[in-house]
Each structure stands twice: as C-alpha cells, then as structure tokens.
Amino acid sequence: MTMSENNQTTTAVAEAIPQQRDADSAPLLQVKDLKKHFPIKGGFPIRRTIGAVKAVDGVSFDVFRGEALGLVGESGCGKSTTGRLLTRLYEPTHGTITYNGQDISTANRKQLAPIRSEIQMIFQDPYASLNPRQTVGSIIAGPMEINGINPPGGREARVRELLEIVGLNPEHYNRFPHEFSGGQRQRIGVARAVALEPKLIVADEPVSALDVSIQAQVVNLLQKVQREMGIAFVFIAHDLAIVRHFSQRVAVMYLGKIVEIADRDSLYNRPRHPYTHALMSAVPNADIDAVKKERIRLEGDVPSPISPPSGCRFRTRCWKAQDKCATEEPPLVQISGSREGHLTACHFPEEPTTADRGEDIVLDPALAALEDESGANA
C-alpha cells in the first residue's frame, strides 16, 4: 500500500475523534502540569535531599471517553511514571489529575475508593503482576471483592464470563498463574482490569515482555475490550508501530515532558518536533520497499533526568538547536501549519510536510567518521 492511500484511511479515523469529543466534550481525565520528582538522598555529615530525579516534570494532557491515548518515548522519558501517577500508585509532587470533574491528585484513600474501580492498570510483566499463590479465579474476582461488588449470578459466574471474553478456558478458574504461558497470564491481567467495567485503563508496556506472535494476540484483545466496552486507554509503550496501531492520539515524551501530542495520522505523517521526526526515522521498517525516508541518527543517549538541559530539553541532541533553545523553554502549543489539536513544543519546528525525502542528518560522530572514510575510499 502506498503512503497516500494509507493517509486517507487514517485521516478518516482521526477525524472521527473530534466528533466524539463534541458529543461528550468534557474530558474523562485531565492532567495539568503534573510532576513527579524522586528525591536523591546524600550529603555530609547529615544525609538530606540533595537533588531529584525529575521523572515527570510538567505534563498536561486530556483523555477523552473511549479513546486510546498513546504515550511513547524512550527509557527514562517518564511515560511509566506518568502511568503510575494516573492510577495514584505514585503521589504526584505537583499538578492536578482531574477524573470526571473530581480532583484525584490529592484525594485520600477513602475519597479514591469509588474511583479506583473505574481506573485500572495493566502491567508489563505478566510474571510479576499476578500473585502466584492465588488461583486465577480469585485474582480476577479480587477487584470485585475489594469494592464489594456482587454481579448478578455471582462473582464466579462473572469471572468465568471474563475468562471467556479474554480468550481463556473458563474451566481454568481454579488454576494458578504458573500453569499459564506469558501471553495467557497477560490475558488474566486484562480480565482483572476489565472485571469492574472501568472507564479508563492505563496499560504500561502491556505487550513488550511477550513474543511477537503473542503480542499481536494481546493487542487484538485489548483493542476488542476497548471498542466493545468503550473503555478509554492510556497506552504506554516504546514501540512506535504498536502505539500507532492502538491509539487514536499519541503523545511523545522526552525527559519528563511531552514534546508533541497529536492525532495519530498527524503525528506519524507530519511530525513537527525534531525528536518525533528522529524517532520515526529510527524505527526499522520490515517493508523493504517502503518509501525511504530521511535518515536521522542522533548523537549519544538521553541526558540524565537529574539535571536536564536548560530551555528545550532536546537541544543537546538536536541539529536545529540555536541559542534561544538553551534559554527559553518552548511551550507546548499548536504551531502554524499544524492541524487542530496538534501541539508541539519547539522553537524551530520541522516543516508541516515530510512527504518528500529530506536530507539525511547524521549527528553520531562514529557513523559520520566511518561513512566519510568509506565515502572517500569509494
């Protein structure tokens, strides 16, 4: 399939989203300037807080009812921490999380209780996230028990039904997690998450620990429950292709901040932030006949979130960086040429079209040296 055809189909889906929003315009979840700083202890002679890992450092976004919002970025960008903040597994250092109009960022246990059943989480590691001493039945029934919910027909019948929904044999009700493969365990995790018919599921790398052929099974299952049960998802993953497949909107994070957020089509086909562009260019494509895009090779790794660069955090690896980038932090706004809802935090954004193959950008010194050498020899 060519790119242009592909664009049309994705555009159609993307345009459906704003309509949905109009119907129920208040976002389900609103995140404003969310921060999570993990203190670093040290010092002499008395140990004290001497710094902080700024894992999440001022993140704002909305999640609408029934939509899947993808959160991508490389390790250390804060996407998993964000997920844990949304489910209040971590206490935010700063900022607000508003769920259905209620501020849950500072809510206590009691106030959270009714909301806990509406926001569920699916974890990366299907081996570590299930209690090995509990049967599958009691794992899945757990959330119902805690929240005192008695479905018609009883909990056991409901669990069997859930097992069926996630593609497991209801007869396996009394088995233990170790009797299942990794993919099956992740299905159990999904059954537990949907048991209370939540409004929002935060899925943190739900398939990255699984084999390729199993990944697809679980992605399809998540997509099925998302569509059939109308559950909103925050889908956290490092695999850009899977995020694109799953999410209608996607946010790209870098060093604790969202650098770009847009609907899927706009983000993947017309990225404005140089980092997003570099990410897209770095994904190896299994289609060897795909239109060759410009090759962008950044230098080095992501800097430390303990002392992130001033101004724009990406500037130390960016080929467009100028003096302004070091002094002024670019706001996350819609920049000219972008589609509505496409927000970018960049002073010198990329062109709104990347249809043509641009010039290669090789910042990596080793690659540049080796390629110069072979170029000179040739």
């Binding site: 084999d211 052929s213 090779r297 080796l370």
Partner: protein
C-alpha cells in the same frame, strides 16, 4: 545472496564460498523433565562479508545454535550432532584450547544485554584489551592503545579517559558500543550478534545498527544477526533464516522471505507486527496458541497445531510427516508451491498493508 546450494540431507564437503557451514546440527539437553531438542537438524551457510539474519521467537533455538557454534554450550549436559565448519575446520570435535584460539579472534559474539555481559568489576579498557593480548600477544601498553582506538572507532567520546571507566559509568548505548569494540578488537571474520539492540531505545538502536553495518564494511566480517524483529533484519541482513521449534522453517534472501514468504509461520510473524505504514483499521493477524514445548514437540510439522492451513494438505501429512526444507530458497511446509503463493497473495498480503 549467500549461496545455499548444499543439500539438506547429504552434507557436502565444504568449499565454495561458504565461510561458515552448519550441517544438520542437532543440539539436545538432558534436563530433569526429559530431553530438550533445542536444535533439530539445522543447516545453513554464510559467506564472508555477508549478514545472515536468524529470526524466531524465544525457544526457537536461534540462540542455542550460536552458542554451539562458539562451543559455549555446557558440554556435560548437551549432546551435539552434525557439523559446524569454520573455514573447513570442524568445530564440534575441536578441543577446548583450539576453540579458545578461535573465540574472540576468528569468531566473536555481541550479547544482548551489555549490562550483564560486561563484568562490573573490571574497567571497559581491560575487558576490551584482554582478548587482544591473549590472541596477539600484545603488551599491556599496546593492548590499551588498541582499546582506546577501538573505543574511538565505535564513537565513545573522550576514549582516552573513558577507557578507564567501569561499565556502570557508561550509558546503555555506550556500553553496547563498548561491547562491539570488544568483539571487533581482533578483527574477527565471523561476528555473532544475539539480539544486539533489543535492550536499547529506538534512536540508539538505529545508531548501533548503522554502526554495525559501517564496521562490517570496514572489517569485512560475516555477521549472524539473531533477532525477533523483522524490521531489524530487513535493515541489516542479506539472507534470512526463520526458525521455529529448533528447526529452520524458511530461508532465502531477505527480499524473498519478506516479500513473498512461503511458510505459514512467517506469514504469522509478518501479520503480528504492525508497521509504521500499515492500515490501522485492520486488526493484527496473530498466530493462535503458544510456541510448543521442546521437551515434547508436536509430531510431523512442529507448527501444525497453530497452523490455519493444515486442511489444505491432504492425508493429514502435517501431523504425520515432518516437512523438509529444500535446497536454497524454500520453506519446510507441505503446502504446494502454488498453494503457498495463492494463500499469501489472496489472504495474507492484502492485510499486511
């Protein structure tokens, strides 16, 4: 493409261009639960300067194969049959001292996780220079200079200072570069890269893959690239071997295998992985079920319990007969060539986008 002209069943004498030849390799471990047939009749060849991609999921035998090539399997509990010929030298029967002279020198390995594969107790420089001293007899000073030179080559900034750092002082990407430097320090002819970028972020992965390609140009090594990521092999490899349950189920050039795959398992792999340009409204095409236990692999074709096309094969052959992988380009499947082509074009290809 790499010549794959030897027949599967009759091991031909080596020669031709093949630099490494594996013939009907069988690797079995005895465990408490029984005998694990980790590799079961695998053959392949690789030429100097070329890259062979080996694709498969966990338990497909891809990593075991390569440990066996290096002779790093546990000799007590492992039974190995077949032939592994490196420049005509038989490695399975080679003695440990003979293998030690080859490892790190003629053939080297890049491990998946540089954090565990580099010792935390010794400096990066020491770990790079160790094999150089051992294989070339260089002095400490020469080996250190060589280590600095290699670090520079793989793009470590300030190599003269960083050579004395410990691995934990390097970032993930830099550690993987250091490991590449360590594997290339003696100019090996064969480089085995076992999921070299799986633990890395995507922008770093792109740097490392390009680096490997560029270094291969310079060093002329043959590379065996083990991965589960078809995107990585599409980028790196000349030829491709798809493994399932310890057996090769399909092989050919990268273009042949990715563009006109023949084996239902390869179809499944392609259908399971979304691409950046695939149609998002089409659900993925997963392979049902899970990979088989190698303690007790299915009879006949090991893929038959997960295969959607067994009813197209007459006489229940999929359950009873093990299909053979033909010479050269081909797949180990009972479907006829026409059926394979027809199924792929009609049902698989349209959904891949």
């Amino acid at each position: 493409m790499t010549t794959l002209t030897k027949t599967e069943d009759a091991p031909a004498p080596t020669g031709g261009d093949a630099f490494l030849s594996v013939r009907d390799l069988k690797v079995q471990f005895s465990t408490e639960d029984g005998i694990v047939k980790a590799v079961d009749g695998l053959s392949f060849d690789i030429e100097r300067g070329k890259t062979l991609g080996i694709v498969g999921e966990s338990g497909s035998g891809k990593s075991v194969t390569n440990l066996t090539v290096l002779g790093l399997h546990n000799r007590k509990s492992t039974h190995v049959e077949g032939e592994i010929l490196l420049e005509g030298k038989e490695l399975i029967t080679a003695t440990e001292p003979e293998l030690e002279k080859l490892r790190g020198n003629k053939m080297a390995m890049i491990f998946q996780d540089s954090l565990t594969a580099l010792s935390p107790y010794y400096t990066v420089g020491r770990q790079i220079s160790e094999p150089f001293r051992k294989h070339t007899g260089a002095s400490k000073k020469e080996a250190r200079d060589r280590a600095i030179q290699m670090l520079e080559k793989v793009g470590i900034p300030h190599p003269k200072q960083r050579v004395d750092d410990y691995p934990h002082q390097f970032s993930g990407g830099m550690r993987q570069r250091a490991m590449i430097a360590m594997s290339l320090v003696c100019n090996p002819d064969l480089l085995i890269a076992d999921e070299p970028t799986t633990a890395l972020d995507v922008t770093v992965q792109a740097q490392i893959l390009d680096l490997l390609k560029d270094l291969q140009q310079e060093f002329g090594s043959a590379i065996i690239m083990i991965t589960h990521d078809l995107g990585v092999v599409a980028n790196m490899a000349d030829d491709l071997l798809v493994m399932y349950a310890g057996r090769a189920v399909e092989r050919g050039s990268v273009r042949e295998v990715l563009k006109s795959p023949e084996h239902p398992y390869t179809w499944g792999l392609l259908g399971s992985m979304p691409r950046l340009n695939s149609d998002v409204d089409e659900p993925l095409l997963p392979i049902p079920g899970s990979p088989p236990s190698l303690l007790n692999p299915p009879s006949g074709c090991p893929f038959h319990p997960r295969c959607a096309f067994t009813d197209k094969v007459e006489g229940g052959k999929c359950k009873g007969d093990r299909p053979t992988l033909p010479v050269g380009r081909g797949s180990a499947c009972h479907l006829t060539a026409d059926q394979k082509q027809q199924v792929f074009i009609e049902t698989i290809q349209p959904r891949l986008g």
